[in-house]
C-alpha cells in the first residue's frame, strides 16, 4: 500500500560532539579487564566525554546554532522546538526554552522535552515534521544526550555524548534552500523492559542479554520493514542507511538481516569512534550522511529506544545539500578534533567524583 508522501524539507542540520574522549583500553585498565576482549565484544574503540561545563542542554544549543547557520533562515520563523533527551539537567524545567533563547527564537513557540531512551530524538523529529506539515511553518528537532553508565557496568564502556539538530519546513521560505526531503516515517513500539532508569537514580539498569533479539532487533527490523512495505521500497533502493548504534555490532547485524550492504552504512556508522550518543545516535549518522551525500540520493534512517520502539524515515537529498554542508562543522571534523582523558579525569568530567 502506497501512502501519501509527506514532502517536508530539511533546511538545515547541525551536530555537536564534545572534544574529550576516553579509550576503551583506559576504562579496562581501571577495572583490570582485557581491552581486546571488550573492544571486540562491543565493536568500539573510544567514546566521547563532555567537558566539565557541558551537559545535554549546552550540546543541544551548539547543535541548534549550527543547524540555523545551515538553514540560512531567521530563527524568528521557527514555530516549534522539541528536544529529545534522557539526560536532562533538570527533572522539571524544559531544555527547549533554553535552546529557544540561545538561538534568539520567537516566544510564539510550541515546545517541550521528550523522553523515550535513545528514540527521543527521532520522536522529536516526527513531531516537528508533522507540525511543519500541518502548520506550513518551520520547526527545530533536537536529540541530545550526555549519557551515564555506572562505574564498571557494560554501559560505562559505551555511553557517549553529543547532540544533533534538524530544521524542517513544509515548502521553502524565501532565500532558503532544501537540503533533503522527508518522504515518509513509520513507528513501531511495544512495552519491553530492556533498559530503564528509575526516578532519582543516577545510573540506568539493563536486562543484560535481553537487550538483543526481543528489544533492539525486533523493533529496528519491524520499523524498517514496515516503512519499506508502506512506501514500496527495497533495501537496494537506498544509497545510504543508518541504524541506531548502541555498540559497534548491532547495526551491522541488523543491516545484514534486512539485506543491506555494508557500503550503504559507510557515512552513518560512527559508534566505534564516539560510542552511543543515545537520543542523538542515529541522527548524528544522518547528519554525517548529509555532510557527504550527493543530491538525489535516497536515505533510510531507523532509530531505536529502549522501553521500546523504533522510528524509520524515508528521505531523499536535494540540491542544497552540497552548499549547506560547508556552512557549519561536519560530523567527521567534530570526531577528529579530540583530546584523551585518563580514567580519573573522565570520572571528574562525568560527575562520578563527588567533592
Amino acid at each position: 500500500m502506497m501512502t501519501k508522501k509527506l514532502e517536508v524539507n530539511i533546511l538545515g542540520w547541525g551536530a555537536y560532539i564534545p572534544i574529550y574522549r576516553i579509550k576503551i583500553d583506559e576504562i579496562c585498565l581501571e577495572w583490570g579487564e582485557d581491552p581486546s576482549r571488550w573492544r571486540k565484544s562491543l565493536g568500539l574503540n573510544e567514546i566521547s566525554v563532555p567537558a566539565l561545563d557541558e551537559d545535554s542542554t549546552t550540546f543541544a544549543v551548539e547543535a541548534a546554532r549550527s543547524a540555523v547557520k545551515r538553514a540560512q533562515i531567521s530563527p524568528n520563523l521557527i514555530t516549534a522546538i522539541y528536544v529529545g533527551t534522557e539526560s536532562k539537567p533538570y527533572a522539571v524545567k524544559p531544555t527547549a526554552t533554553i535552546v529557544a533563547a540561545a538561538i534568539n527564537a520567537s516566544a510564539r513557540l510550541s515546545s517541550a522535552d521528550l523522553e523515550f531512551a535513545c528514540k527521543a530524538g527521532t520522536e522529536a523529529m516526527r513531531i516537528c515534521i508533522d507540525h511543519s506539515l500541518v502548520n506550513k511553518t518551520v520547526s527545530l528537532a533536537i536529540g541530545a544526550d550526555s549519557a551515564q553508565g555506572k562505574p564498571r557496568d557494560a554501559l560505562e564502556y559505551s555511553a557517549g555524548a553529543g547532540a544533533v539538530a534538524f530544521i524542517f519546513s513544509k515548502g521553502v521560505p524565501k532565500h532558503a534552500e532544501s537540503a533533503a526531503m522527508v518522504l515518509h516515517h513509520f513507528s513501531y513500539v511495544t512495552d519491553t523492559p530492556d533498559f530503564w532508569r528509575c526516578n532519582g537514580r543516577k545510573y540506568p539498569s539493563h536486562a543484560e542479554r535481553f537487550t538483543g533479539a526481543p528489544a533492539y532487533f525486533k523493533h529496528t527490523i519491524n520499523a524498517a520493514k514496515g516503512l519499506m512495505e508502506e512506501v514500496g521500497t527495497r533495501p537496494s533502493d537506498y544509497d545510504h542507511v543508518v541504524f541506531h548504534q548502541p555498540n559497534g555490532k548491532f547495526p551491522l547485524k541488523a543491516a545484514k538481516i534486512l539485506g543491506f550492504d555494508i557500503k550503504q552504512l559507510k557515512y552513518g556508522f560512527l559508534a566505534d569512534k564516539i560510542g552511543n550518543t543515545y537520543a542523538a545516535n542515529a541522527m548524528i549518522g544522518l547528519a554525517s550522511i548529509l555532510d557527504n551525500a550527493n543530491p538525489g540520493e535516497k536515505i533510510l534512517m531507523v532509530s531505536y529506544g529502549s522501553g521500546a520502539g523504533s522510528d524509520a524515515f524515508d528521505m531523499m537529498t536535494r540540491e542544497g545539500v552540497q552548499v549547506k554542508r560547508e556552512l557549519a562543522p561536519k560530523v567527521l571534523d567534530l570526531i577528529s578534533k579530540k583530546k584523551y582523558l585518563t580514567y580519573g579525569l573522565y570520572a571528574k568530567h562525568k560527575g562520578k567524583l563527588i567533592m
Binding site: I19, A51, L52, D53, E54, D55, T57, T58, V61, E62, R65, P89, Y90, I98, A101, A102, N104, P329, D333, K337, K339, K348, L353, M355
Partner: protein, 130 residues
C-alpha cells in the same frame, strides 16, 4: 546569583549582546546610559561578534566558589572582531596550550550551578577557534 538576576542578564550571557551608540557607532559590552565617546544618550542593544583574539590571560589555581573541580582554569581578556574587549573563561584548552592560542570563538556552557537549589546559569565562554 538569584533566579531573577540570572533571568535579567540571560540575553547578554546567552548571545553576547552589547550596546552601540547610534550617533558615533562606538560599541560597549556593559550597559551604558551615555556614550563614553560622544556623550549621546541614543544607544541600542546589538549582538557582538562571536569571534576574537586573546590579548592576555591568567591561569587560575585558587578557584572562586563553585569552580573547585575546574582548577586549573583559564581566564582571558579577549578583543572581539569589532574591537570591544571582554573577560571570559577559555575552555577546551589546557594551560600548556594557552600560550600558542590566539583566535577564539564563542561556545555555550554552564557558568555556575546554585549549590543549594541547583539552578543552572548558562552562558558564553570562548574556546580556541576550530
Amino acid at each position: 546569583m538569584s533566579a531573577p538576576e540570572i533571568w535579567r542578564n540571560a540575553k547578554q550571557r546567552y548571545n553576547l549582546t552589547g550596546y552601540r551608540c547610534k550617533k558615533c557607532g562606538k560599541t560597549f559590552f556593559t550597559k551604558r546610559i551615555v556614550c563614553r565617546k560622544c556623550k549621546s544618550k541614543d544607544l541600542e542593544e546589538v549582538l557582538l561578534p562571536w569571534e576574537g583574539a586573546i590579548e592576555t590571560y591568567t591561569v587560575v589555581r585558587s578557584p572562586i566558589d563553585g569552580y573547585e573541580t575546574k582548577v586549573p582554569y583559564i581566564i582571558g581578556l579577549i578583543k572581539l572582531k569589532n574591537g570591544v574587549r571582554i573577560l571570559s573563561e577559555i575552555v577546551d584548552c589546557e594551560p600548556t596550550e594557552i600560550e600558542k592560542t590566539k583566535e577564539v570563538e564563542l561556545v555555550f556552557r554552564v557558568l555556575s550551578k546554585d549549590k543549594e537549589k541547583g539552578l543552572i546559569t548558562y552562558g558564553f565562554k570562548f574556546r580556541p577557534k576550530t
